[in-house]
């Protein structure tokens, strides 16, 4: 942090003139990027339709209330499906992500080539949204809960494997050396040296991902992959907004419960 002599006093500055200039240049570039983006969006927008947005919003709220609560009775089955998509999808993803994580972790991978392969799996799975997986799967194996389960699982593999491999890379090697020195076999080293060290992280990651998957599984139905998104799509398509309100309330309750469960379990692990 430089100081300068101004008149008779020494003045403190946070940055050198060069750093100040670079910072302002950065702000300028950022501002230009935002303006260009805003102009582009504005060019793609029919402002005529935007002008009546307040009326549209008021109209929408008018249609949404009062909610037709009777519709809730037909939603228990989709709600159960949503829960299953999230839970079974998470379980399937965990089964696949454990070997992928061990291959991707620097200290447990058998060969750097396997590591690169595992990283490609992780990146592909993480970059593609569950809804896109669902779109693809619905067109391959047809609409239904199964497509939703596989979509949620495919999206979760990368997430779980990445976090788990980071946990594996952080383990302490002393217990493993100790086991080695007693003549333990490879599987015994894994069971008593590695697993106990990563088990808490594994449990935390599983519950965290399950919580996220509950949210994901509420919308995969919008593209036909089962769960409560299916009646939501149907209600919106037929402009039954008072039914949609009931579905939104149910989603909200489900999300709040799953977040509470996940926070409780993660709190108990720590």
């Amino acid at each position: 942090m430089p100081t300068y002599v101004v008149g008779r006093e020494r003045v403190w500055r946070k940055r050198t003139p060069r750093q100040t200039l670079l910072a302002y240049l950065g702000y300028l570039l950022g501002a230009i990027a935002v303006l260009v983006a805003a102009r582009f969006i504005s060019g793609q927008t029919l402002w005529f339709f935007v002008l009546d947005a307040p009326e549209q919003a008021a109209d929408l709220v008018g249609r949404m209330f009062p909610p037709s609560w009777g519709y809730a009775n037909r939603l228990w089955r989709p709600l159960w499906d949503t829960l299953n998509i999230a839970t079974i999808g998470t379980l399937a993803a965990l089964v696949v992500s454990v070997p992928v994580a061990f291959l991707a972790a620097r200290n447990t991978t058998p060969h750097p080539l396997f590591r690169q392969l595992a990283l490609v799996v992780i990146v592909t799975s993480r970059s593609v949204n569950a809804l896109i997986w669902a779109l693809l799967l619905v067109s391959i194996i047809g609409p239904g809960v199964l497509a939703g389960i596989i979509a949620v699982a495919l999206r979760s593999i990368g997430f779980c494997a990445k976090l788990l491999s980071e946990a594996i890379e952080e383990i302490d090697f002393k217990p493993i050396e100790a086991l080695d020195s007693t003549g333990a076999s490879g599987s015994q080293v894994v069971a008593y040296g590695i697993v106990p060290q990563v088990a808490p992280a594994f449990a935390g990651i599983s519950v965290y991902r399950w919580d996220i998957n509950i949210r994901e599984s509420t919308v995969v139905g919008l593209v036909g992959a089962g769960g409560i998104g299916l009646p939501l799509d149907a209600s919106i398509a037929s402009l039954q907004w008072s039914q949609a309100t009931v579905i939104f309330v149910m989603i909200l309750v489900l999300v709040v419960i799953s977040e509470w469960v996940s926070a409780k379990v993660r709190g108990a692990i720590r």
């Binding site: 504005s42 929408l60 299953n84 809804l131 779109l135 194996i141 809960v145 008593y192 106990p196 919308v219």
Partner: protein, 274 residues
């Protein structure tokens, strides 16, 4: 450590050593797996799968993966280009707007610096932004402002407020109160207290979170097009429903490449500020 003597006694009697059980209470230790098993049985027995359709789908899977091996960037390039440009523009504009709007909500939603009524109001807005998936919010904005990237940008900005608002508020709640108290003791105004007592403590984390949210916004911008909110999602949806899987593959490759690029860039920025 009341469990230890019993186990030590057991090992003294020559019984083999066993690791301590994960869950102390026996009824919970046996009850939880049983409950889990019962749930799985119930879940699997109620999943309705049309196996005939799945079997026919496996045939189609070959076409899909065949298409994936020969990605076709050219025949729909105008749509891909426009979609990607829209996605990027939505991401940049929405992240900027979201960051600017999230700051007041974050300060309002931090219990240690805001009065209760403000706190409750801000918490409600933040919770609303976080509880629903981007695509559900997008449906609302499409109804309000019509199809196109404006609806998408508003959606992402709204979701950004929820995300940044909550995480920044938690960060503010965990600050060291002493600098804040020091500024207050010198007679600093509220604005000065915030600027010199709070902001310097949360700024690095705020920059990191904003960059992280930029990543998320790009990923989400690739799907909200499914409901008509602009971006590459519309082109992706169309290519799948037209069975043009080579184009689908090309779009997915472009998305993954951009995600990798932004993730790499954001990794560098986050490392520098933290």
């Amino acid at each position: 450590m009341s469990a230890l003597p019993a186990r030590t006694a057991a090992s003294l009697k020559g019984q083999p050593w066993r690791p301590a059980p994960l869950i102390r209470q026996p009824w919970l230790r046996w009850g939880l797996p049983l409950l889990g098993l019962a749930y799985l049985v119930a879940a699997f027995s109620t999943i309705s799968v049309d196996w005939g359709r799945v079997a026919r789908g496996l045939d189609r899977a070959r076409t899909v993966f065949g298409g994936f091996l020969t990605p076709d960037f050219l025949s729909r390039w105008e749509f891909i280009q426009l979609g990607i440009l829209e996605s990027l523009a939505m991401t940049v504009a929405a992240t900027a707007l979201g960051i600017v709007l999230s700051v007041p909500f974050a300060f309002g939603a931090a219990r240690n610096i805001s009065p209760l009524p403000v706190y409750l109001a801000c918490r409600a807005v933040v919770a609303a932004g976080r509880s629903f998936q981007e695509i559900v919010i997008a449906i609302f904005f499409v109804v309000m402002v019509g199809f196109g990237p404006l609806a998408g940008a508003l959606t992402l900005a709204f979701a950004t407020i929820g995300f940044l608002g909550k995480l920044l508020a938690e960060e503010i709640e965990e600050i060291d109160p002493r600098p804040l108290e020091a500024v207050r003791a010198t007679g600093g105004s509220w604005l000065q207290q915030m600027a010199y007592g709070v902001v310097p403590q949360v700024l690095p984390r705020f920059v990191g979170l904003s960059v992280y949210r930029f990543d998320i916004n790009f990923r989400e911008s690739s799907v909200i097009g499914i409901v008509g909110a602009g971006g590459i999602g519309g082109a992706l949806n169309t290519s799948i429903s037209r069975y043009e899987y080579s184009t689908t593959a090309a779009i997915l490759i472009v998305i993954i490449a951009i995600v990798l690029l932004t993730e790499y860039a954001s990794g560098i920025i986050r490392k520098r500020v933290q």
